[in-house]
């Protein structure tokens, strides 16, 4: 399962996902501070097949984690209410 920030997704093109909700949350904190009027910053996840992931591009984004860039996934997207993990703490 891969996670991303829903609010940054607009239009076609490559989309970045992270391997954990925690990394997506770290990114969301930075986005919230930079663009505070543009929330809510929901975190979404999706499940795709291994074959689909072979076309993905893997990279490292400093201070956040491993980012996986894919074309918009064809499968259903699950939207969480900001964080799928109730134990995650956010400081703004």
């Amino acid at each position: 399962m891969r996670f991303r920030l829903g609010a940054t997704s607009s239009g076609p093109g490559t989309k970045g996902f992270w391997g954990s909700a925690e990394e997506a949350a770290t990114f969301s904190q930075k986005m919230f501070k930079t663009f505070p009027g543009e929330g809510p910053y929901t975190i979404t996840s999706t499940e795709v097949s291994n074959s689909f992931m072979r076309s993905a591009q893997y990279a490292n984004e400093p201070g956040i984690g491993q980012t996986i860039y894919v074309r918009p996934p064809p499968g259903p997207v699950k939207v969480f209410n900001f964080s799928p993990n109730a134990n995650l703490k956010f400081k703004f």
Partner: protein, 161 residues
């Protein structure tokens, strides 16, 4: 044309250390501001953000490159600075040392701005950075200031020769 850089952070201590590291480099200014306040600094032509943060403006995942993209009016008719500089993407096998990453980010941004300014009348003269998009929170801020100064001076010295 030398671009002026504005680097912001909310912490007074970080701002002081950055200024120490940047001593003597007058083209780079450090301000104590929140990142959203940075976007409203008068005369700011562009601001830097990660590739993923600039997805909405069409940033592509290209490691070791910075891209300059035009921003658009938002739903309420407000506008960010005219351009966003998207960068800071690394290959998985690259070092995760924040000093190395900061050097690469600053170099690629200055190169991208040079190329942009050659081809465009609407030159980018002032660029804003928030320390956390540069990874400075993971390193000594004085060292970060020294790295930025060193990259900046080396870039424009080479550019003028």
């Amino acid at each position: 044309m030398q671009a002026n850089l504005i680097i912001c952070d909310e912490s007074e201590g970080t701002v002081d250390l950055l200024r120490e590291g940047l001593a003597g480099c007058e083209e780079v200014t450090v301000l104590r501001l929140k990142p959203d306040q940075l976007l409203r600094v008068e005369g700011l032509d562009a601001f830097y953000i990660s590739v993923t943060g600039a997805e909405r403006w069409g940033a592509q995942p290209i490691p070791h490159k910075a891209q300059i993209l035009r921003t658009e009016l938002d739903d309420e008719g407000k506008r960010y600075p005219s351009y966003v500089v998207a960068g800071g993407l690394f290959n998985l096998e690259d070092s995760s040392d924040p000093s190395f990453q900061l050097k690469v980010i600053m170099n690629t941004v200055l190169e991208a701005v040079d190329h942009f300014n050659v081809d465009n009348h609407d030159a980018i003269k002032k660029i804003g950075f928030w320390t956390q998009w540069l990874g400075i929170e993971r390193m000594d801020a004085r060292e970060a200031g020294e790295i930025i100064k060193s990259v900046y001076e080396a870039h424009y010295l080479f550019d003028e020769s």
